[in-house]
Symmetry: C2
Subunit: 418 residues, 2 copies
């Protein structure tokens, strides 16, 4: 069960939220302003950013992909190169921090399923291919990510969800990643699913898809998912939430060397005291670096959303490493220091103790056992508190669950020395 | 009941649909391409255009109105001036030819009532004021129109309607027109409601609002509303549909001199043979010019929607005076000739015969009697066929309707020599 250590040190990056105008900055792209933001990010020691062009601006009509929209994305990638940053381009926004950005040809009178309608899927894949083509040859491009969190449009708690089957979700994801591969054969491509893929029992996007499709397994670890609420802001569980999630993801890896990416994590003040944020940054990164096969960690986000902009959830105005005026915050200083320390951290050894997750032959229905408060989560945390370096073994054989409660069933987690 | 003749000849104009990129042209505004389109429109003898900036581009966040978005609108107005065209700017799109353009701060997780939520209304009024301020001093600006057809977002047949009361619809309209007046005191401002305001019994936007608010009463006359289907493409009713609608609108005018504007009319090939389009253009304009108090007629639209763009209803690719390559069509030649003839047409005399429309004290519930197939519509058309120049008298006293059928009730229309 042990895994080989990665040959390369992990990457440190930031999800880039333009300081002036947030993602609406794409409407009035100013390379100098973008360059200023990116230089600030680079000054922390980060080596990459993840960027988010808006879907309705790139593809305002199903069959019209704007050349200038693509050129704008390339411009930002090139500006990043000038300050020494590599870039992952998220291909479909889609969804960003509570706002849905869906083109008019998919809404209202033109409403149809984003994932299963064949014309829509073909056109979306065409956009991914066009983005790849526009970025070909950029030496600092890492790859494309299918997202951001576009799986939320299928989630049962979305205001207007697009229902689909597991097979359809897999096919859609494979189609988008195939389009990325076709246009950028050497890129590291991934799918940027949010939590529902891991913890929501009725969700068509699955851990197996995240772990098998694309070149890395991506997790977005947010402590407002119940971790902060249940265990407290400055708690062991909060500090180890990202690490746990990486181990959970690794449990699904089809091969031991599959890279893992903590693609989003941040410090929401809904569950974390402001004074504890530097501690959270330090602990989360330090603990995540103890996960083997870690490709990198990418903080959400670079800049606070300006208070001139309305309707964001309040926490979005506080998630930045820099404030809305561009001043570094304690989170930014802690992130900078964590990067410096992280670059000196030795490659982690393989982990020994496994927590069994008896998902049965149909893992989808038992996902919530791994969510905060679930048996797998709690068993892993207990082992970690006891000084172990636990990992997770996904057991697919049929297993009887105690009392039928998949979330807290006592039988769901057992210890196993791997 | 007779009305004074207008002192000025009617205006002839075109609703401007950019040839390259349709309304997505705003994303990549090219003044030379716009100028080419507008010069073609001016070559027909038209004196004005109506233009349609997209709401999500002007106001991507509730509290962010883009200076460059406003400047782009001003640019188009100034380009129009150079080819001798005046301009009406539609302030809220909103809705255009089957596509809804609603900013992300009003959809999905941020869904709230466009017309009644006080924060939304204040922000929408701020956009109207900002547009007015950006256009102040443009000598060729006629005014602002509140629309396009934004009342459809409240219509019961919308996929996701915003319900509101008649009083709320009136207040919203007055607020938007007040914002227009505040920023452009000398403009001719109007509200661009679509048919539902006139014919849909449960609709909160009403004929009284259209006739009392703003500086002109606006109608959008589309023969696919049942006229073409019921009476035939090349029929008397089709030829007189616009004229009838103007007379209907005049029936609600609070003062005899209230100007009327046939703000939209076009030749949908769903109900009209292509060969009959020149006849339709000629007849519709000739007959509309027989309506006293006519401010102007404005054709929908200038250019066919390019077949490179997907998902438009098929008819939208055929409504232009020019085709997608910029070549004039028979409709364009007929429109040019109709303008030339129209400029020579004497001011119409007041009309004599009135068709009573006994709407009762609550006109809202009997609107459908005036729709194609309704008693008022049929009585008016019968009188016109008999050689009269009928108008409509709105009778607000309580009236017993035959059989309770407000749409076809025989008692709904009586003749009256005014």
């Amino acid at each position: 069960m042990s895994s080989p250590a990665p040959a390369v040190p992990p990457r440190f990056g930031v999800n880039y939220t333009p300081r002036r105008g947030w993602f609406h900055a794409w409407l009035d792209l100013d390379p100098d302003e973008i360059g200023e933001d990116l230089a600030a990010i680079a000054s922390l020691g980060a080596d990459h950013v993840r960027i988010f062009p808006l879907w309705p601006l790139l593809q305002p009509n199903r069959t019209r992909i704007r050349p200038r929209g693509l050129a704008d994305v390339r411009t930002v990638v090139d500006v990043a190169a000038r300050v020494g940053l590599d870039v992952v381009v998220d291909a479909l926004q889609g969804h960003l921090s509570s706002f849905d950005f869906v083109p008019s040809w998919l809404t209202s009178w033109h409403r149809r399923n984003m994932f299963t309608d064949q014309e829509v899927v073909a056109s979306t894949a065409a956009l991914v291919r066009a983005l790849g083509a526009a970025l070909a040859g950029a030496g600092n491009l890492i790859g494309l990510s299918v997202g951001n969190e576009v799986n939320q449009f299928s989630a049962s708690n979305h205001p207007d969800p697009d229902p689909l089957t597991v097979a359809e979700a897999a096919e859609w994801t494979a189609t988008m990643l195939g389009a990325a591969r076709e246009s950028l054969p050497a890129g590291l491509h991934s799918v940027a699913n949010y939590d529902a893929a891991w913890f929501l029992d009725d969700h068509a996007f699955t851990p197996d898809q995240s772990a098998a499709l694309g070149d890395m397994t991506v997790v977005h670890s947010w402590i407002f998912d119940g971790t902060g609420q249940r265990y407290g802001g400055r708690s062991f569980e909060t500090a180890h939430r990202g690490e746990y999630y990486l181990e959970l993801a690794r449990g699904f890896s089809p091969t031991p060397e599959r890279p893992l990416w903590l693609q989003e994590f941040g410090a929401p003040q809904t569950v974390l005291d402001e004074a504890d944020i530097p501690w959270f940054v330090t602990e989360t990164i330090g603990n995540a670096l103890d996960a083997p096969q870690l490709w990198g960690v990418t903080w959400w986000c670079s800049h606070d959303v300006s208070r001139d902009l309305a309707d964001s959830p309040p926490l979005e105005h506080t998630l930045g490493l820099f404030d809305e005026h561009g001043r570094i915050k304690p989170a930014g200083e802690a992130f900078r220091d964590a990067i410096a320390r992280g670059r000196e951290t030795p490659t982690p050894a393989a982990r020994g103790l496994s927590i069994d997750w008896p998902v049965g032959p149909e893992p989808l229905l038992r996902r919530s056992a791994a969510a905060p408060g679930g048996a797998v989560f709690e068993a892993w945390m207990a082992a970690a508190k006891a000084g172990e370096r636990p990992t997770i073994r996904v057991v697919r054989e049929a297993v009887e669950l105690a009392g039928g409660d998949t979330r807290t069933g006592g039988a769901a987690a057992t210890r196993h020395v791997g």
